[in-house]
């Protein structure tokens, strides 16, 4: 399964690792819903670290979409909310 970290590129993940990611992803979603900036950063940082650890970077010339997409490391809660609420914010 391919996951993209915005600003970093795509990673190939083994199916069994996704389960662990989902737990953190739920925490991230909860933080976005509640507007808790601190736990948002905590969950995002942990998620990104795990993806970088267990994932294999995909070759630059691979031309396929990602099943999962994660915000860039320095994203604010506000930016992520905007991305999730309005697809028009994605340029290009």
């Amino acid at each position: 399964m391919i996951l993209r970290i915005l600003g970093e590129g795509q990673f190939e993940l083994a199916e069994h690792t996704v389960e662990a990611l989902n737990g953190l992803d739920n925490q991230l979603q909860a933080a976005v819903d509640s507007g808790d900036e601190a736990s948002f950063h905590e969950a995002l940082t942990a998620l990104l670290a795990m993806v970088r650890e267990v994932g294999e970077p995909v070759a630059d010339d691979h031309l396929g979409p990602s099943e999962l997409v994660l915000p860039a490391a320095e994203s604010t809660l506000e930016e992520v909310r905007a991305l999730l609420s309005d697809e028009g914010l994605i340029p290009g």
Binding site: G9, D60, P65, V69, I90, G92
Partner: protein, 270 residues
């Protein structure tokens, strides 16, 4: 549904919307390729803009550092003249600058990181654009419009997602450089105004003026002391005021004493 899945759906929806709109999906390939090349140009400009901002910060940091060094020198000069008050003032100004220099360094680090990220993004995009061009030609040459529909999906979604990502990265970099430019403008104004002395030293701040005044005062004082000494001891004054006259008189008095010595010299040589 978590954040990861929702974001991926949003990116995919964007790509699908473009594909669905096209009557012949093969047409979208060329259009998209043009867009990709435009975006590549944009990323490269973005990298150049960030680099320009970074260099401007470096220049400003150097100027502020020169100014801080100057305040430091002033503080030392003031202390040697027992003016702790002036030294204190100079060091206070220096510490305000030191804070600003530290801020500039933080911003510089963040711009450098941004530059590296954009450079990598531009390399990734370039690799994908090249791969897309190859696939595009194969699809156009090999498939009918109906067959192309499914073949195009993956490649198009992939490149569209990459373009969205890169587009976001450029926006972030632009926001950052704009903030930096506003700050840099403020520092330039500060450097240009009287608040900070310019590092060339062509204009003088009040501490420098005071140090100069003290230097000329102490010069006047030492001249005064010399003159007072001359007046208190007229002989010394005469020695200074009429050096030739004073020197010839003792020489004439000493002449008789030296005469016998001179007289013995011919005898010794003979």
């Amino acid at each position: 549904m978590g954040v990861m899945k929702r974001m991926s759906l949003i990116f995919n929806a964007k790509a699908n919307k473009v594909l669905d709109r096209a009557e012949d999906p093969r047409e979208t390939l060329d259009y998209s390729y043009t867009k990709q090349l435009e975006l590549l140009q944009k990323v490269r400009r973005g990298v150049a803009d960030v680099a320009t901002s970074r260099k401007r910060l470096e220049l400003q940091a150097t100027q502020l550092q020169q100014q801080a060094d100057k305040f430091d020198g002033q503080a030392r000069a003031a202390l040697t003249q027992n003016r702790e008050d002036l030294a204190r003032e100079a060091l206070t100004r220096k510490s305000a600058l030191t804070q600003q220099i530290a801020d500039l360094q933080t911003q510089h680090t963040s711009l450098q990181a941004e530059e590296e990220k954009l450079t990598l993004a531009s390399q990734r995009l370039q690799a994908k654009v090249d791969a897309f061009r190859t696939q595009k030609e194969t699809i156009k040459a090999t498939y009918t419009a109906a067959e192309a529909q499914t073949k195009i999906g993956e490649a198009f979604s992939g490149i569209s997602e990459e373009m969205g990502d890169v587009g976001l990265a450029i926006q972030r970099a632009q926001d950052k450089t704009q903030t930096m430019q506003a700050r840099a403008g403020a520092i330039d104004e500060l450097l240009a105004s009287g608040a900070l002395n310019d590092p060339t030293g062509s204009s003088k701040d009040d501490i420098q003026l005071e140090l100069d005044r003290m230097a000329s005062t102490s010069d006047v004082e030492s001249q005064l002391a010399a003159m007072k000494g001359q007046i208190a001891s007229p002989a010394a004054a005469a020695a200074i005021e009429a050096p030739t006259g004073a020197a010839t008189a003792p020489a004439a008095e000493a002449a008789p004493a030296t005469a016998p010595a001179e007289a013995t010299q011919p005898e010794e040589s003979a």
